[in-house]
Each structure stands twice: as structure tokens, then as C-alpha cells.
Amino acid sequence: MPRHLTLIVAVGCFVAAVCDSHLFAQSTNSNGARHFPIDQHSPVGMAGEWAALRGKGLTSPLPFPEHQLAMERTSRAYFQPVRIELPCEGTVTFYSQPHEQPVTKAAPASAALLIGPVYRLGISGLAERPGADLYPTVELLDRLHPPSGMAADFPIPIPFTMEEIDRALDGAFVSKIIYLEDPRLTNLGLPDGSAPTEYLAPKLNLLEMADRRGRPVALVRLGGRVPDAANPEPGFFGSGAPVAFTAVTERLSTAKSPSVRQRPRANSPQVATQTRQLLKPR
């Protein structure tokens, strides 16, 4: 076994031993509450890297500790479809590898990203905020497991609200966790068809809050920082991880976003105890 491969396996075993129980839960205190060492204020890319080390971004699960191997992670990398949703008309630019031209698509824009790397997006052309340019980052922490052949039909929605855009334009820093709701903890009061956003105090650990409500799948950071054209920063446009675009995602992008379309919300039946006779065919 090559020397560097042995070193990678050793480091992987160490990291897995540290964070094997849960990505964000290493230990439990005396009260039974788990400890979350990573939060939204952790360095960019740390949460995604830990997720990748745990084998979250693989097409099929591997036994321990094979998922720690970079070679295996690369060969079995899974592209998770995402859909970037804006509150108004606008464009979304995906920055991938340095030698490739960035791809700009109209919102809602769909693409497929890897779990772990940091992706830089560009938001511009907002109809309600002319001239505004924002460059959020996206880290995928987990993937979905839809039925075979339907991965593109169930992307992870990454919505940006107008309030978040305005705060970012004012110089604030917005951190956001997209999580998969636990079906038995579904908030029935929230509107259906979209990813509702709940605002919490910045001192709270969003990853911990999301883990209590379901399964965190994406970490989004949005600020007012823009690239300096005179002195371009090499790492500003992400880690250079590839972005996949397919015809399916194109088809998905043309479909109306659930957050945009207005569904008539059915009135919840206010039934206490109702009894009615069933029809008898005979």
C-alpha cells in the first residue's frame, strides 16, 4: 500500500473515530444533550468536509473505513440536484472549475452539486433590486435517496427571501441551514409547497436546531462581499468542484417553482367527530 494512502487511511480512521456517531454530535453531556462542535460560524467548508468524510456524498454506501478514502469518494461521488430559488426574477451563476466558464441561468436555476465542497454562486439581475450582486456560498451536507431515475425531480430547494437579500445588501451576514423535515415533526401550520424559513438568533447553533427538526442537507452563507476585479482572490469562487447540468435539470428549471406558484390552500377540515352513512350500491 502506498505511503500516502496509508496516511490517508490513518487520518480517516482518526476522524471517523472522533465523529462517527453523528456529524455534528460527538458526545453527550450529563443531561443527555449532544454536543455540536460545528455551527454556522465555523470556517467555510468545514461542515461539508466533515460530511464528505462520513461518506454522505456517495452513490452507494461503503463499509468503514473505505468511505474515508479520497479515491473511493471521488469514484463514487454523487451529484445532488439543487434548485436555487429567488423571490423575484433574477439570474443565478454557478462557478465551478477555474478553467470552465461560469454558467448563468434564470431563477429558479437547477444544477447538481457534490456533497462537501464549497460552491460559490452569483445572484444578479434581481428585478426588485436592480444592480444588486450577491455571492452566496453553498455547502451540501447530505443527499437525498429518491426512487431510481427520479433524482432530478426531487432537488434540494435553496430559497433566498427578499429579507435575506436586503440584509445582505446592508452588510449583514446571513447563515442558513436547509434541512429535511422529520415527517413526524412536521409543522402543520407552515404553508405547503415551499421551504419555509424560520429566523433564529445568531447565538444559536443552526446546525443543532436543524438536527432537532430533521436532517440538515445544506449550509448557505450570504453576505455583501463582492470579488475585487482588480485583485482577484483565487479562492473566492469556491473550491473548483464540478457542477453538473443536464437536460433534466433544464427541464426542471423551466418548471414553476413551488414557492412562486400559488396553490389554493385547502381549508383544513374542522371535524370533531363526524359520521355519515356510506352509500350502499345495492
Binding site: Y78, F79, P81, A112, L144, H145, P146, P147, S148, G149, M150, A151, A152, F154, I156, P157, P159, E164, G171, A172, F173, V174, S175, K176, I177, I178, Y179, L180, E181, D182, P183, T186, L188, L190, D192, G193, A195, P196, T197, E198, Y199, L200, A201, P202, M209, A210, R213, G214, R215, A244, A266, V271, A272, T273, T275, R276, Q277, L278, P281, R282
Partner: protein, 440 residues
Amino acid sequence: MTRAAGEQPASNVMPNVIQNSTHSTTNSLPMRRVRWLARCAASTLLLTLTACNAAPKLSDQRTDPFLGPERTTAVVQEAGAIQLDASSSPIQAVSHTVAAAATSSKPALKTEPGAAEPRVAVHVTDTSAAEAQTRLASQYPDEYVFDGGDRALPIHYDEHGMLGLESEDTVVEFADDEGRAHVKPTNRVAVYAPRFAAISSVRGTSEEVSIGKLAGAYQAVRDISMNSRQQLVGHQQNVALSRIHTRTRGSEVSGQAQPNGVDQMVMVSGHAQALNVFEDLAFLRSGQFDKTEEARLSQAIQAAGNWSREQSPSIAATESEANEIYDWFNASEFVGLEDLRKKGELRIVKLADQQVARSGDVITFTIRYDNTGDRELRDIVITDNLSQRLEYVPDSATSDRAGQLVENISNDGTLILRWELSEPLLGHTGGTVTFQAKVR
């Protein structure tokens, strides 16, 4: 391929359904083998028939753009939801959907005459894809909406009624011909319908206030002395004893017993013995043998010898008495009626018309129940506690048998649908209830 249920035996209508064991009923091993073989035969037949007509469906293949062409599978649009509980069945891949008459939004089952046996269509999907999907639903349940089965706490009863009916549970209660009550869960239906939410926090430098130095803490603790005097209060109680003197005088009884001794001295005054006649011999009197007494002595010696013999003939007489027994046997007749019909057994299957769904989609659930035995079943009640993710579409519940529908809200806020069938279910008959629910 659509086939009406009336065109084939009832045993082939639902060949892949796993029989959830009734709580009070056990199946013998030979019967299970026979059923397994029957299901295999039915599955093979259906696979063959479907392969002949599968060309239009196979043309609708989708290639997963992210998994590569090797993971491309056929998508059967009409496929029903995943039957999680049927994983052990060798024909698990066969899924069922109710035909258009049952799944369409129009309540065809309400008005269709003679709908005791509704039309049921059987579709066949890729075996590996179905197994993989079942495995995924088990591994990642947070991406699915489940309904049916008996989740977590099993259904049980106390003196107040049914307990353990949680959300997603669907059970049927019925009584057999002997009046014994049974409860049986349906299979579990899984529909892929992930739902997302987001939490966000905003941190701005203009709003953040931090204190880097402790302003100090002052805490004055003043001891306040407390004197407490406790005086013991003596409590004296004089209890005057009322003395009772009791003097007991022993009443002595003195008695003197004087021995009344009687002394008598008996003096032998003499002894006279009279000899018997046969002893009147000189030999006996004086011990001298007289020749004249020889005959008499010989006779006496012989007589004494007879008495000294160890063995003497003895006569034993036994008297036996003959006993006569008289008995009378009454002819008796026992009349019994043995019912050779097979006991009633209820099979219940829950189906969904969609395999995947998004928020806002309406799913039609169909619950098919059949009495596979010969004897009738009574008091059939189907109870479905909907999942939190499912919102019942008002007035969408139907039934092809007479009864009533009761809607109630559980303590968890979920809706409980309860179909109470008013008529007994005869052997080898069945029925269907349907309802629609919108995915939240």
C-alpha cells in the same frame, strides 16, 4: 395489463400480498407452503403476461443523469406505492394498483352495482428496483410519507377500548363466526415525498454588542443571627391508680386416709387330690408296674401318642356361594354436527396510487379486504389514523359495502377515519374502501 377480478379466481387477485398474521390466528406450515407455491405460480404467470405487453412502458425509460446509464431503470407510471411489509415475499416486486374505476376521482365504487368485487389491475415492476426502493424507504424514512401498518406501540385493548393506535396506523377489527374478536394491521404504504424547511440567522456588525470585560460582581451576604429559644414544657400527668386489693385465701382441704390393711394368713392345711378313673392305676399311684395294667397303660400311651404326632390328617371344608349379577345397558345416542367449512380469515391490503408525491399532490388510498375463508365474518371496522403529512380530502371516502364513516381527531391532532361495516362479510367475498389525502 388490466384484468377484471371477476375473470380470475379470487386467490389470484392479490398474489403478492403478505398476510399479516392475525393476533389470534396461526397458519400451519403446510398451508404456508401451499400459499407460497400458489403465489409463485401466480407471479410467474403475471410476469409472463406483462412481458408481452410491456413494450410501451419500457419505452418510457428515464436515465438518471447523475447515476449513469447502468442505473437506468424502467419507470412504470402506473406502479403503486411500496409495500414495505412484503419484503419477505418472493414475489415482492409485483405491485398492485386499483384500476381506473377505483383510483379515479369520480366515486365509481359508490354507484357501481354489484361492486362487491371491484376491478383490480395488477402491474409488474422491476424486481430489483422494487427491492431497492423498499430498502431505501427503510433506511431513509424521513424522505417518505408512511401510512398503514401498526407502528411502534402495538394495538391492544383495555377496559376502555383500543390503545396503541398511533398516526400512520391502519387496522381492521372483526369477529369470526364464533364471536371471537380479532384485530389485524394492514401493510405499510410508503410514498416518496420529502419536505424541506430552513432556519436562518442574521448577524450584522452594526448590531453586535460585546462586552469584553467583566464589570464585576458584587454580592453582599449578611448573616442575620437568629436566636431561638425553645422552652421545654414539662408535662406531668398524675394518674391515680385505683388500687384493687385481692386476697385469696386458699381453702385447704385436709384429708387423712388411713390404710385399711387386711392381713390374712393362709395356711396350707392340706392337699387332697382325687384321681380320675383312668388314673386309677398302680403305676400312677406308686410307680410300680403291674402286669395287669399293661393293656390299659398301652391304650393310654397310644392315646398320648396320637396327640403328639406332628402330622395328622386334617379336613378343611370350604363353602362357596354362587353370586349372580344382573345389569341393564341402555342404548344411548350422541348426535353432533361438524362444520367442515374453513374458518373465516380476513386479508386486508392498503394501496396508494402514487409512488412519489410532492406537497399539494392528492393521493388516493385504497384498502381492499377479503374473507378468504368459508365462514362469515362480522363486525368489520377499518380504522386509519392518518399521518401528519396527509390531509384528508373532505367527502372523498367511499365504500362498496353498507356502513358508516366516522371521522375523529386524535390527541395528536391527526385525523382518524373509521369505516364501520354494517353487514357481515360472507366467505370468499370482499370489499374496498377508498379515500383521498393531500400531501402537506
